[in-house]
Symmetry: C2
Subunit: 312 residues, 2 copies
């Protein structure tokens, strides 16, 4: 039996939040349905940020209601604060991904409060969920952004990441997401951090969220796999980018990551041929937006035999 690796699509959130062009709600819904049909079972479908801050997510409720019609889909959404958590709990999603930065300056720039205030809010969100009889099944993940470096502060010391990780886990996070928000990670740092965090987390799932800003995205996945990480965020066509690094690519590309994992003998549950069709559709819909990734250009290798069966 091939070992399983779980890939979560974040393009509808991390990708679209960097695109000024509004993607019509129907296209977002079709993307979710098509990618689920290709075998992606976890999708971060939107962000419950104030719509006045990010017009792209003005349809968050509508998109969420569609996603919730897909029974086996783990409907994830990003939340920046308690208000976002309340919106997600009212909708009844599967999982809310709360994000705070390790970098103090980045946290101030991103959510306009200190990291201490952020983690206190996280605890309040957990308490809110625990107190709500209708929200008991909603999982709350704690995400640590800029865990490997920050465009404002530069390198981030590992000890700071570990300290926040400990506090987030102790607060009762259902998952810990360690994010290289702006492409500062390298395989040595990845091995070092995750080999310390995984034992701290015990049975709590730990996910790695890598950006390919400096071309090391998949190299970092290999390093993380090596020390036991089995959950990764990725985005179709590597959508994402970073407002501080114009021209730089975004998240690791879902299709390349799935290809790599299946080539290595892991099962992702993803049908690559169908996933590449979804990519073609979304790329055409977002005409003019740069899509990254190699497999879509080079094609699958001759005689390629994925672990996950491919549609006839």
């Amino acid at each position: 039996m091939a070992e399983q690796v779980c890939l979560r699509e974040v393009g509808l959130r991390d990708g679209l939040q960097n695109i000024s062009l509004f993607m019509p709600s129907q296209q977002k819904k079709d993307w979710i349905s098509a990618e689920f049909a290709a075998g992606v079972k976890e999708i971060e479908i939107t962000s419950y940020v104030p719509p006045k801050l990010l017009q792209q997510f003005i349809d968050a409720e509508e998109v969420t209601r569609h996603a919730l019609t897909i029974d086996a889909l783990a409907v994830n959404a990003l939340i920046p604060n308690i208000k976002g958590a309340e919106r997600g709990m009212a909708l009844g999603v599967s999982q809310l991904n709360y994000v705070q930065s390790v970098s103090e300056s980045h946290n101030q720039a991103n959510v306009r409060r200190s990291t201490r205030e952020s983690v206190d809010d996280f605890k309040r969100i957990i308490a809110l969920r625990n107190a709500s009889p209708t929200s008991k099944r909603i999982r709350i993940a704690g995400g640590l952004a800029t865990a490997f470096g920050c465009t404002i502060e530069g390198p981030i010391k590992e000890g700071r990441v570990l300290a926040w990780a400990e506090e987030i886990l102790a607060a009762g996070a259902d998952e810990l997401i360690v994010a290289d928000t702006v492409g500062y990670a390298n395989p040595a740092a990845v091995k070092s951090i995750f080999s310390r965090i995984l034992p701290m987390a015990g049975k709590t799932p730990v996910a790695a969220h890598f950006h390919d800003t400096r071309g090391l995205g998949l190299a970092n996945v290999v390093a993380a796999l090596d020390v036991g990480v089995r959950r990764f965020d990725a985005s179709l066509g590597g959508l994402g980018g970073c407002p501080y690094a114009p021209g730089a690519s975004g998240n690791i590309a879902m299709e390349d990551c799935a290809f790599m994992l299946e080539s290595m003998g892991f099962t992702t549950g993803i049908d690559l041929v169908r996933l590449l069709e979804v990519r073609r559709t979304v790329e055409a819909q977002l005409g003019g937006i740069t899509f990254y990734g190699s497999i879509a250009k080079s094609g699958l290798p001759k005689g390629y035999q994925p672990i996950t069966a491919v549609a006839a």
Copy 2:
């Protein structure tokens, strides 16, 4: 003390052989000098193929004579046959890199003979070198192309690679180069092959030559590092490509690979700031040819501290 990793530039051979535009000899010579000055101590500067087959290398002798004026440069050149070896020995280069494919069909297509005939020629080349009083110091490397897969034959069984590796080592190769010519490798296959080949090779250096055709180039470097490989081929701007995969990228990008290694704590001897200047110059000279790689677009991370000192 940081552990050393040796990067060999192959863009002047593997890169230029895929470009129909002739690069003026003076530009080739300037590229070699500038990249050496940036800290790259081994460069495959040309190919001794018949000029009628590859016009790009019509100036092989002139370029070689220039490279040989740079004292500490390991002047490498590719040879497809005995004739090429004779040209290289007459010039007195540092090292000749002989290449044969593991794939029978690819070898026929590439050098129009069987793999058996190719390895027999390799033995003749070693004998020729050994018999020449003036060529004793010339190193002869044996390269295995399509070691992970082939656009004609598809997947290549590891046993075939190991058998050829054994024969090439027994023939007296001064270095073994294992090449993923068309981007079929993955980190699991890389670990498996190199963990078997390194003990076979003993003190003979083993180099990995990866292409980034499917985006796994640096991921494969990480896997190879993990099992002990410390020599890699790379090309400035990822020049290379493959005539069978239009639009696909080429070799791993020298600048991204050096960045990754230095970030991980290895020393490459390469000054990245100067290397990126060389890239800008060569990219401008080859106007219209696509250059790959991420660091040139995203820039180095804030507070980046390489192991190799950067020019003031």
